[in-house]
Symmetry: D2
Subunit: 388 residues, 4 copies
């Protein structure tokens, strides 16, 4: 099913007076490995961040208006994505770490992650100019849900810039949208492409947005799962490599950027019992996944990554008692690095595969990565896998 974004609007809400797309339909869309893109490693059941038990993801997608940009009116191509490490009812922090490959972007709350080792609440992703609204809305939500870990909250909200398609100076994301993304979060399949915070994003001059993937380690490796979710909004065309193949050089249609720009936010989740300093190591590996798809993390990029572990529940004792923890041996951590690199690479390609052509402000049109052409190019370079 395809939404013609140029007309009217396409908004997904819980409350409902809008157009809703059946999840089943969404799930019929092919994903990257379904098209025959070869990847290393073994994904989890959903090949999504939600393969890490307990994680919930919610999207609010705002699409309305057409034509010439009128600041404050539209067109609107934006949204909010919320990732809840322990779902909507737990106030239990998770161990976390973060890394900035190129900091032309914002991720609030990182100073406290770095200091405390904990992520105390959800991670939200939106457009650059809505970070503040979403941040304070998250506090309101934590208060309402009674999920504050301290007397105050320092929410983690990140962004990429959707101003090529969206009226990004119009501040269209409101408090209610953040609340809806949070309340609408759920486990299971995660919508990809033009949804949530990824709605108006572009990637290697194709339409980008939200992508996700996961890896499941072998029993010998501990059986842990690593899940990744990206909001992909970076790259110029010629850089794009998929499965090592120079796809960007082969498919030149529809380029529009005179120079490198854009950003990527990456959320890495695992159930492996990693301490904060180990999670920073995971966050740093995201760079290697970006390297595989051809990124150079240009000056304009906000390439900021956060990693958390759902293990060690209760580590942030509230009564001041010592916590009893499990820590993965550093000697066993390399497979988690593998998993992070692989799932990052696949998440980005999944975002590209899922996103659909969109026309936004001032008639700016960004093409979807054409699936057939992708398969042709992979075949040319002898890298087309069997469809799965």
């Amino acid at each position: 099913m395809v939404i013609d974004c140029r007309r009217t609007f396409w908004i997904f809400t819980l409350a409902g007076s809008l157009l809703m797309m059946p999840a089943a339909a969404a799930q019929n869309k092919p994903r990257a490995r379904g098209l025959g893109v070869p990847f290393d490693g073994t994904p989890g059941d959903l090949n999504a961040i939600t393969d890490v038990k307990g994680i919930e993801v919610g999207h609010v997608t705002l699409i309305s208006g057409d034509g010439k940009l009128e600041v404050g009116k539209g067109p609107v191509r934006t949204g909010v994505t919320a990732i809840l490490p322990r779902g909507k009812t737990s106030a239990d922090p998770v161990f976390a770490g973060w890394f900035s490959l190129n900091g032309n972007g914002e991720m609030t709350g990182t100073t406290w992650i770095e200091e405390s080792g904990f992520l105390e609440g959800p991670v939200l992703i939106t457009n650059t100019h809505s970070v503040g609204t979403v941040r304070d809305a998250t506090i309101a939500w934590l208060l309402k849900r009674k999920l504050m870990h301290q007397a105050f909250a320092l929410p983690v909200v990140a962004e990429t810039w959707d101003g090529y398609l969206n009226d990004s100076n119009g501040f269209h994301v409101k408090e209610k949208h953040a609340l809806e993304a949070l309340e609408g979060a759920k486990g299971g399949t995660v919508a990809e492409g033009n949804v949530g915070g990824g709605t108006g994003m572009t990637c290697f001059e194709f339409k980008g947005g939200i992508g996700t993937a996961s890896r499941k380690l072998t029993k010998e490796q501990g059986g842990y799962t690593v899940g990744v979710l990206v909001q992909a909004n970076f790259g110029v065309r010629h850089q794009l490599r998929i499965a090592g193949v120079p796809v960007g050089e082969e498919i030149q249609e529809g380029t529009f950027r005179p120079k490198e720009a854009g950003s990527i936010i990456v959320v890495v989740a695992t159930d492996a019992p990693l301490l904060p300093h180990q999670l920073k190591r995971l966050a740093r590996r995201v760079s290697l996944g970006l390297g595989r798809v051809g990124s150079v993390a240009g000056n304009g990029s906000g390439d900021i990554f956060v990693a958390f572990s759902t293990a060690n529940a209760g580590a942030a004792t509230k009564d001041g008692k010592n916590a009893q923890l499990t820590m993965l041996s550093n000697e066993k951590i390399t497979p988690l690095f593998d998993a992070t690199v692989q799932a990052t690479e696949e998440s980005i390609v999944n975002a590209l595969v899922a996103a659909e052509t969109m026309t936004g402000r001032d008639g700016h049109k960004v093409l979807a990565l054409p699936h057939d052409r992708l398969r042709e190019v992979l075949k040319k370079y002898n890298r087309l896998a069997e469809k799965k």
Copy 2:
């Protein structure tokens, strides 16, 4: 709406019936060295961050309501402070660096400072739960004033928590307040104490808030100025040292905290031609000033510091041209470290001296540091200087 600042008032209200206190009156309030507190080094003319040419500071102070806390209604004891490195009309970024001594707090925009070396716009300080509103409001202001350096903005907004006096979960700071703080910014004397972002803050269990000081280097040292502005909201009483004297052990009245809590935001400005990595060095020295007044930067503290230089105007060329810069030799930087440590120490004491007793939510009353008692204690320890 009621303000009992006990003696005087300089108040802004939501409803608009402003009471303004003449600046002259404000200036009659003694400052720390006026009371005979001895400090090292030579201050600038105003002994304020505005001694660094071009810097403007604006405060919006919100005080209303009384009695029992009703979330969303009040009492309100909060505000916004804006520091503009090059005033209200320049879009020219300044070189900057930052440091977190203890990161239980928020300063947005630091990731881009770290990456680019630039602070692209003002620094704002408010309460913890209003950072988002103030951040997005700053973007709106930059857009309106046409001061955006990139196609998007990543404003620097910091906070400390005023929930002991203020209805901090009531989100009383609105976009307009941030805009007013920005538009109201000016050079010259800087109001201290219960103003702006510092309105509801406490420090060593005395009333805290905004404080400022400066140091002027000798001609041989380059003649540069270092200015500091703090939003002081940290410390338990017994820790307080003023001019090395154990004031906190001597004055025990009015303590209310069972354990260390609170935060401090520090802004360091200079006209010395420092590069970004040198400004990080300045930011790191703030810790030494905090050490002098007795801080241990407890777990609950958001002790986050940013330093910038107004020298090297035009360094952020917009046309991609190489910039021609001046860099202070590292061999000459130590006097700037001295100045930063000294001005940090004095700014904190100035905040304590300027702040007035305040009663906030639920009848919480925080006493001002009693000037006469301070002088007695200094005298007891043979550290009372001549009044200046």
Copy 3:
């Protein structure tokens, strides 16, 4: 000529005519609180880093020659100090973190501490130009003792510069000296002042060197111990504050530095169950202790700090198994910050009190802090405590 501190003497000579002092006598030397310097907090039994159970300290002190500097011949005023977190027979790493307040110095091995969270072996401190020799010697010692945790070792060796008194370009520290410092390490009383790596150091233009102190938390706080050992070699006279008193301004005799120079290495040890990211927090608090004694961490300073915890033995499992750990709640960490700040301050003053006047190369003579004058100044400022 090398002195083995394990045995009975402690030797200082200008011209080769050795003066031997029985260890017992050495222990009769007063320490700072014995002179009536008031400090906050409660020390452990020894008021030394060795109050943390299991820690061993060894010094090798090299003093020989007199008169004019002949590079490679002397005079020699240098040495090596070794701190062994778990003594000489354990290969079990300890959790660790580090911080550089001003990085004009060297501490090898920090990159692996930062990455792994572990300190795998001892910490050694020597003069700037002997770090390499001591580093490789430490590997040899680990090999001989079969204490390697990995197939290779990345030892932690730090330094300060003793070139004002010592022939520091003469490379007088040899492999054997490092081995002796390691082998000679023991628990119990720690020699202070002109010993080990601190032999030729100066501090606030007085003779400096090694100092140590500790703090014991109350049972309610967990009963943990924090121990600190410093190699103090920093500061210009006028900056010196002891117990908040401007001692440096009062005692002006014997100054020799035209400008700020020098460094301090600080080792913080605790038995509290802190994770690596929490130990970084401890390391960062050292700055606050330095602030109390008047440091501004000048450009020439190598102010580098490492903190480790002897708790969680076995955390670095060698078989790749998950480790079971205990973590102190962040909510209980502030007393450990207090302890770190206090013990840092006292260690530095202990170094000053213990060090004795020394004449080194080219007749450079550095005076000991005169104990009687110190007491007079403390009395003048009403800060002289009862002798303990």
Copy 4:
């Protein structure tokens, strides 16, 4: 006995049965692009770090003994590589920055690079257990050459571990070898493969070692050059991707590692006028080049990178005067990121292509990447370029 690589041969043995290879022959060895490996971007004349004007590189290669390991006797397969930013006669520091992707390794001197923004001297690379010897030897060399910038030196010495082939616990690198590497440094062609610090290294379970490459920006981009030199010692076979092609999966002969291990040191040089914080950005991009060849930066890796700029000569004024600098606009920096990523990728492949099969201790034999097989695999995936 040491062989001067500039002249005729490149093998050194203690025991004497030398294999000599004419330098000319060495230069006839194909490099990666000569074999038809396609790379992005345009290299400089030499496709080496020495394309950045003024840079000199020296290698000392130690190869002797055979058969069973006898610690201290051999077999020896190690060496030292020296990179001199401004040659052997200049004491003028260069701006620099560094980054650790995975810190299971050592690079001394980084704390001062981070603090001061300068690299004050050469960069040396050797084996893990010889870092100390090489470090102090570098000080001796700086003293002898009168190249000390401060009264003391904090040399930058890095390492990877060659213990699979070399008697790495035998400490075979002596002071004289470091001095020879420094004195032997020169511009022009840089020997690659089994030379200098790279002598005993392995990479993706092929023989590894030293590799280099460069990129020349277009005139419009500023015409700057970026040169990279790597000591490559990382990776397990199946990870290896060359030009995006899964070479490691295709060539399975001669694998020997049960799990990921090893390290890579990368030196990035440029003549673009970058400030220290901009050079850190370059250093961070090395990760993306590593991502392209398949690295996951496993737990055992010491992946540490340093970047410096030869522009802005005289920036480290010795008289304390302000320096006049040129800074590249951040808006123009992305092509330098491209260049860094590309040259890192190519340097690693160059190391693999240049290195020759080596048998070391205990008969451990590591195969060279077979050139013909590489070409076959590239051809299979339609990625074989014309030979150049």
